[in-house]
């Protein structure tokens, strides 16, 4: 919201510099959107819930209370208008529930001319061009009070009615700026004689626009369901001062103040006579009442604020005190404060006006609550440290990817803006491969990369989120060795890779391996971790049996392990010390089986082991 200083000073007798006024607005919740320059216009950010702060008076009111100076409000024309002949009445017909109020006033015999200097000065300072006295007055009052309004030339109305309804497919309207718009079936519009004249809450049409020839006008101000305005504006890609205000929650009572002010300015600067016309207002608003408890004010602020102080602030913000006790204050919320929901919002206003910088600091002194950090969080942090220690760099890649129609488990987004980011990833490897390619392009030769993060899938009944660690290395050896090292550091000395390339620990599948990468399901791994394993205080002796095996090509190490496991030997562990491709018919594995030194059965074991390998896998002993 732009606030020209010259306009602001019409209502607030502030003696502060522009910079200090900006600082005060900042404390009130309206920070500068753009830095100050020589134009003496404050460009303040908009607040989502305070429709009154989209008006100069609304901003002036807050500033006046904060600076503790007087607020001067303009006087509107409150005398009722004349009664018009029935035949000259513009009939109002509302055919949709999205209109809460629609008030119209008629002006006859007005003279269109340039606006007075003071008015054009203010509009220009705001950044709006002056057009003529009537259009300028509607714009001026909209900015002053925050209530959009329209003037239509009665002579140009196709019928003696204003009807509000949903548009039909294909209806057309040319806006005041000359843009031709073809409407779809669900835009809310004002029509006259069946023809669209205004897009509700968005923009007026050229057909009934005020020109230099105009003598009679119908002035309207409406209050609509903001969702409808927002929808039309987005659909038609029209954003303007009217939309900015109509898509906020305005109070229907604001219409009286705004139209009274406009009436007074029209009569003063365009002359003519004012006649009442229809005021559609089926459910008048009942003022909202809130109760402030002094105890709650103290409890939330941590300050000992006196009731008199709280009362003074609320009264100056135009809350009406309807009841008062030693510990409570019942107030009626002013019509322009549509943001007020609960008692705490009153507290918010009181503290805001007392300046947040004056709230004292208080140390958290309550007992420390029970820790609810999930174990997996710490565990994944530990995995990060272990991998960083191995020389791997962590990456975080996008969780969004493109749709892969072959992947039926993929979670697809219904409204993504781009087709390359319209689904959720199902693995981490794709992202890491991309990084790896970028590295290769820039000749960055790194040990490897890893990511710890979530992947997503859908099942028939719900959506699943899985936690993975994927490690990508520069070659197979680094990858295999990284996996062994990680598991070893976690106290897991024995694991197998199955023939499906899954990582198996104690009969549990915890992930899988690929030629240069491996993936671990972190919440599967966590239950297998031995936190204090890996340290010996008694040095035990071991003895081992080395076997050189010639295995047919179709046999892999996982098969050997699986056969040996079925023997249920009492060895401590089995290692593969080397692997060599011998010729076109066999591979050579050198494996080492380790026993406790006290074990006396190595030789007999050897016979059983070799016999079993030969009968199950056609493996020959080389030695």
């Amino acid at each position: 919201m732009k606030i020209p200083l010259i306009w602001l000073k019409d209502y607030v007798e502030t003696s502060q510099s522009l910079k200090d006024i900006a600082a005060d607005f900042t404390q009130l919740g309206l920070m500068l959107d753009k830095p100050l320059d020589e134009t003496e216009v404050l460009d303040l950010e908009q607040r989502l819930n305070r429709s009154d702060l989209l008006s100069i008076i609304g901003c002036a009111r807050d500033l006046a209370v904060f600076e503790n100076v007087l607020l001067k409000l303009p006087k509107g024309h409150t005398k009722p208008g004349k009664i018009i002949d029935k035949k000259d009445l513009v009939k109002i017909d509302i055919q949709t529930p999205v209109v809460r109020r629609f008030q119209t006033r008629l002006f006859k015999g007005i003279k269109i001319k340039p606006s007075p200097l003071w008015l054009t000065e203010r509009l220009n300072a705001y950044g709006m061009e002056s057009i003529n006295n009537i259009v300028d007055i509607t714009n001026f009052v909209m900015l002053e009070y925050g209530q959009p309004m329209h003037a239509q030339d009665i002579a140009k109305l196709p019928g003696m009615d204003i009807t509000i309804r949903e548009s039909s497919e294909g209806e057309e309207i040319t806006t005041l700026l000359g843009t031709q718009i073809k409407l779809t079936h669900d835009t809310h519009i004002l029509t006259s004689g069946g023809k669209p004249t205004v897009i509700l809450g968005v923009v007026g049409g050229k057909l009934t626009g005020v020109t230099n020839m105009t003598t009679d006008i119908v002035l309207d101000a409406g209050n609509y369901d903001s969702r409808v305005v927002r929808k039309s504006s987005r659909q038609l890609k029209i954003m303007n001062e009217t939309v900015t205000r109509d898509d906020k929650f305005l109070d229907p009572r604001l219409i009286d103040f705004a139209l009274d002010r406009a009436t007074s300015l029209i009569l003063e600067y365009a002359g003519g006579e004012y006649y009442v016309n229809d005021d559609y207002y089926p459910n008048p608003v009942t003022p909202q009442t809130l109760i402030l408890r002094l105890a709650r004010l103290h409890a939330l602020s941590g300050m000992d604020i006196k009731m008199s102080e709280a009362k003074k602030i609320l009264k100056s913000l135009e809350f009406i005190v309807t009841e008062e006790t030693e510990s409570t204050l019942t107030v009626e919320v002013p019509y322009f404060r549509t943001d007020m929901e609960v008692e705490d919002d009153l507290i918010s206003d009181i503290l805001r006006m007392m300046d947040y910088n004056n709230i004292p600091l208080i140390s958290l002194n309550t007992p420390v609550p029970t820790d609810i950090t999930p174990h997996i969080y710490r565990f994944e942090d530990r995995l990060r440290d272990l991998l960083v220690g191995q020389g791997y760099d962590e990456h975080i890649t996008l969780s969004l990817t493109n749709v892969n129609s072959a992947n039926k488990e993929q979670v697809v987004l219904v409204n993504a803006l781009t087709s390359d980011l319209n689904a959720l990833r199902t693995n981490l490897l794709d992202g890491l491969n991309k990084v790896s390619k970028t590295y290769a392009k820039h000749k960055q030769n790194k040990t490897g990369l890893f990511e710890i993060g979530k992947v997503f899938a859908k099942s028939t009944t719900n959506y699943l989120e899985g936690r993975l660690l994927t490690v990508l290395s520069i070659d197979y050896y680094k990858s295999a060795s990284s996996l062994s090292t990680i598991l070893n550091s976690l106290g897991i000395f024995d694991y197998q890779i199955t023939t499906n390339y899954e990582i198996k620990v104690e009969d549990k599948i915890i992930g899988n391996v690929k030629p240069t990468s491996y993936t671990i399901i972190t919440d599967q791994l966590i239950s297998l971790v031995k936190n204090y394993a890996g340290i010996i205080s008694d040095f035990t002796r071991t003895t081992s049996l080395d076997l050189s095996l010639l295995a047919p090509l179709e046999v892999c190490y996982a098969d050997i392990i699986s056969t040996l496991s079925s023997l249920k030997g009492d060895w401590i562990k089995i290692d593969c010390k080397s692997f060599t491709k011998m010729d076109s018919i066999s591979n050579n594995y050198l494996i080492s089986i380790m026993w406790d030194a006290d074990s006396k059965f190595i030789e007999s074991n050897k016979v059983t082991i070799l016999a079993s390998l030969k009968s199950n896998l056609k493996i020959e002993s080389k030695s």
């Binding site: 300050m303 004292p360 969004l400 979670v411």
Partner: protein
């Protein structure tokens, strides 16, 4: 006396030159400076001298003691260093760097922040990234139709109820709904919004959220916690500005700005001539949020705060494009 002193000095000088091991050096030290050492005995002899002679020989002996001590130290260092002269490498060459990996900048900053809050008794909270509007909006005092819940701003899995969480506040409502107070929690996490990617905006970003719920929690506690947090991150001289700011899920709401560390408040390009940089949003947890999560707001009160992490990560690491941060275009030195 004169002769004795000179002789002792001469003897020591020639003997110390011949020493070749630290053990011999120690023997020599005892020979001269030990309880019955030669110099010690000479000093004892002083006592039998006339006052006049004492005044002459006292300082001379003290001087000699200093010479012997410094010579012994010199010889000791020489022997120690000599040990390395025969090595087949040069100890004075700086070594190559052992290649370790690196945490992602975002992980590093999250750890730094977690470290502060862990010591203040906060837990770390987690929640789903595919979220229900109930937790992402409704329980945060954002009823259906509120501008912030606009379908076009969020990424939906199933309209209108299932989306990718738009903030970490959804974890707050989940935890408030599932645990009993008191609670102190921080939530670092990924969030999503329906936006085309640019230098500063990404459909995917990180937030850091925190909240405290207990009996008697006030705005004063919130201000104090955030002040200490920023002192931890930026140093004790950090200057914060607390101001009113509207957020639907809190009331009263509070914005926090930090004085620009480049211009110290006078206004520059970095702070867009504001003198301050917005760092986070916060406030007292909304009455309606407490009720929606099944906590009695008449018994408990609490504060919450949240901030975007990426901007802080980028400024700390000097990364100018958010796409590089999560696109793998960062190279660790």
């Amino acid at each position: 006396m004169d002769t004795k002193i000179k002789q002792t000095q001469l003897n020591f000088s020639s003997q110390v030159e011949q020493i070749s091991t630290p053990a011999d050096l120690e023997t020599l030290r005892i020979k001269y400076l030990g309880k019955k050492g030669e110099l010690t005995l000479l000093m004892k002899d002083l006592q039998g001298l006339a006052l006049q002679d004492k005044k002459i020989y006292g300082p001379i002996l003290n001087e000699l003691k200093k010479i012997i001590e410094s010579k012994l130290t010199e010889k000791f260092t020489e022997l120690e260093n000599g040990k390395y002269e025969e090595l087949d490498y040069d100890l004075t060459i700086p070594g190559p760097i052992i290649s370790t990996g690196h945490l992602h900048p975002t992980s590093t900053i999250i750890r730094e922040m977690n470290e502060f809050f862990r010591y203040q008794g906060f837990s770390i909270g987690e929640g789903p990234e595919i979220e229900d509007v109930e937790y992402n909006f409704r329980r945060l005092n954002l009823p259906d139709g509120h501008p912030a819940t606009d379908l076009q701003d969020s990424l939906y899995i199933e309209e209108p109820n299932l989306l990718l969480r738009t903030h970490t506040s959804s974890v707050e409502t989940r935890l408030l709904s599932n645990y009993e107070p008191p609670m102190r929690v921080v939530v670092p996490g990924k969030c999503y919004r329906n936006e085309t990617t640019s230098i500063t905006n990404s459909a995917f970003f990180y937030q850091y959220q925190g909240f405290v719920v207990d009996k008697g929690i006030t705005m004063g506690h919130l201000k104090d916690t955030l002040t200490k947090f920023h002192q931890f991150l930026f140093g004790d001289d950090v200057k914060l500005r607390f101001r009113y700011k509207y957020y639907p899920e809190v009331s009263p709401g509070m914005g926090v700005d930090m004085e620009c560390r480049f211009c110290h408040g006078s206004g520059c390009q970095i702070c867009k001539y504001r003198g301050f940089i917005e760092v986070l949003g916060s406030g007292m947890i909304h009455y309606n949020t407490f009720k929606a999560c099944g906590i009695d707001p008449e018994v408990y009160s609490g504060f919450a705060f949240g901030m975007g992490l990426d901007r802080m990560v980028m400024s700390k690491y000097g990364i100018k494009d958010i796409r590089k941060l999560y696109g793998g275009e960062i190279v660790y030195l």
